[in-house]
Symmetry: C2
Subunit: 359 residues, 2 copies
Amino acid sequence: MPQHSGSHLYGLILAGGRGTRFWPRSRRANAKQVLNFFGERSLIQQTVDRLKAVIPPEQIWVLTNDHLRAEIVKQLPEVPKVQIIAEPAQRNTAPAITLAAEIIQAQDKDAVMGVFPSDHVIGKPREYSKLLRPAFKSARQGSIVVLGIAPRWAETGYGYIEFPKNAPAGAVPITRFREKPDAKTAAKFVAAGNFYWNAGMFFFRTSVLLDAMRTFQPKTAGLLASLPKFGSRGFSSKLQETFPQCENISIDYAVLERAKNVVGLAAGDIGWNDVGSWNAVHELHQRDPRGNNVRGLTLIEDSDGNYVDAGGKLVALLGVKDLIIVDTPDALLIAGRSRAQEVGDLVKRLEKEGRHHLL
Amino acid sequence: MPQHSGSHLYGLILAGGRGTRFWPRSRRANAKQVLNFFGERSLIQQTVDRLKAVIPPEQIWVLTNDHLRAEIVKQLPEVPKVQIIAEPAQRNTAPAITLAAEIIQAQDKDAVMGVFPSDHVIGKPREYSKLLRPAFKSARQGSIVVLGIAPRWAETGYGYIEFPKNAPAGAVPITRFREKPDAKTAAKFVAAGNFYWNAGMFFFRTSVLLDAMRTFQPKTAGLLASLPKFGSRGFSSKLQETFPQCENISIDYAVLERAKNVVGLAAGDIGWNDVGSWNAVHELHQRDPRGNNVRGLTLIEDSDGNYVDAGGKLVALLGVKDLIIVDTPDALLIAGRSRAQEVGDLVKRLEKEGRHHLL
C-alpha cells in the first residue's frame, strides 16, 4: 500500500557525515548538521524547512548513523521517525541513495526523488525553491538532474560541472564533471562562464536510479534489492548484515559520471555555501567593524578578525588577531583562521591517541 | 601577657592585594597570593614556608581583606587564625604595618618584625633564608633594614635602592630610593653596580617603626595607638571605625624615604621575581622546545611561545603564537603575551560595566 500523499516527490537528506572540522563543537553525537551556527535552527532543520516548500514532510527521508539518529529524530518532529534511518556502516553515498530508492520505489512506483546534503547553507531560500520544481519536472521525464551553482569566486574546494558553451536556460545535457581544480584551473573555469559548482544535489525517478545502479554497480544494486519489505519483521537485521557488504563508492563515481541521461540545471546565485570550516562560518556571519564575530559575552580590546564561540562564558580578547576560538565544557580550540581546514586533522590525532571521549 | 615563644622575631605578611593582572584566574576571593602558579603550594603558602626557617609560625601575622581572609585561613593552618586580620579598608601599607606593629609591640616590647609581600616567588629559598638572620640582627640594633636584590636585567617595573659606591658587605646606610626608572636609566643603574631592586621587604623593631610613624605620620600613628587591646571585646568595632580614617600612604613614602636610620642589605641572586603578569608566569615555567607552557591536557600543532592554563580541559592549539590563554568556568582570556600588563585594565572595564560576578 503506497503511503504517499498524492505527490510523487520525495526528498532524501544525507546526514551521515561527522564534520570533524567543526570540532570541538561538533562531536559524534552532535555533528555539523545538527548544530545551529546560524540562527536558532540547525543546518538539517534549515534543510527540511527549505524542502517543505515543495516536498510534503512525510515524504522526506533521512539517512544518518547510529550516533546521530536520536538527535535528528528530536530535531525533525515533522519527519516520520521510521524514515530516519541509521546506516549500519559508512559506505559513501551510492549505497545510501540506492537503499532509500529501493524503499521508496516499493511504496510508489512513480516516485521522483531529490537528494540533498544536510549541512550546507542557502542564503536565498526563495530563489532556491524556484529551482526545485523544474529540477523535479526534468527528473520525472527520465533524466538524472544535477544542480549547478554559478560560481562566485575561483574556489578550489568544490567540484565543478561543465555545461555546454552557450547552453539555453533549463536542464541541458552536461559536458562533464570536473574534480576540485587547482587555483589556476579554477580561475579559468570561472572566467569561461560555463562551469558551475557541484553542490551535491541530484534528482531522479527512483526507477531510473535503480536501473542505473543495476547497470553500473550490479553487486550493490543486487544486495539492496534482496532486502525484505521495509517495515517487515526481518528488514532491520537483514540490513545490518547486507549493508556492510555494499561497495564503498560515491553516487558521483558510481552513476553520475557514467550515465548518459545526466542533465544539468544551472542556478544563479542562491547564496549556497557548503560551510567547509570555521573560517566559512566566520565569513558567513555579521562582524563588528574590526572583523570580530562573537557568539556570547565579550570584552574586546584592540583585536581584529576573530571568531569566538564560547556558549554563555565571557571571552576577553586583548591584542589578538585572526583567531578561531571555540570553547566547550571539555575542550577548547584556539586556531589561526588560515589553519581552519586543518581542524579535522586534530580530530584524527585525538582518535589515534585514543581520547575517544573528546570525539 | 606576651604570647611569644622566646624568639622576638615576627613576620608580617601583606596579603591585601587583588592581582587583577591574573584575571580570570584571580578573583576577589581568589587573588594572586592564594593561587598556585608554581607547584602545589600557593604564593602565600610558599612565603610562610620560607619564613618558617627563621620565624616561628605562631609569630607570623597576615593582613588581608574581607574577600580573602577565609581562603588564607584555610591555606595557612599553622598561623593562628586570630593573627590573620582583614583590614576594614584599603589604606596602602603604612597603616597596615603600623597596626601590626602596635599589636605586636603590646605583646612583646622587644619584638623585631619583618614585612613580606605575599605574592612573590623566590627561586633560591636557601640563599634567601641566609639573608634573614643578618637582616633581623641589624634591625634588632635599631636600624630600619631594606633588602636590595642584585638586578639581573634592566627592569623598568621595579623601584631601585641606591647603595653607596664600593660599600662593604652587610647592612650599610643607603644613599636613596629611586622610583621605577625608564629603560635608559634602568640600564645605567644596572651598569653602575650599586643599584639594587627594592623587593618590598623591610625589618625593624616595632618600637622603632612606631617612633618613626609618630614623627612622620602623627595622625595615623595616633589613631592606631588609640585602639583597645588586641583581643579585647571592643577591639574589632573600634578598628572598623578607626582604620578608614588613617592616611592612605605607603610605608615607603611615610617612613623609609624620610627616616635617617634606614640601612640596606644587599642580596645576590636569590631568584626573586614579583610575578607581575601572566608573561612572568610563562617565563618562570619550564617550556617545551617551542616555548609553550601548558597546565593540563593539550594537543599542539605548529604553535610557539604560548602559555595555557585551563584546568582539566583539553586545549588544542593550531598555528598560534605568543598567546596567553587562561580558561575558567565563567571567563576565558586570550591575550597577546606582549599585552600581559594590560590584563588589569580589562578588569577595570568589567568593574565599570558592572559585571561584578566576574571580578
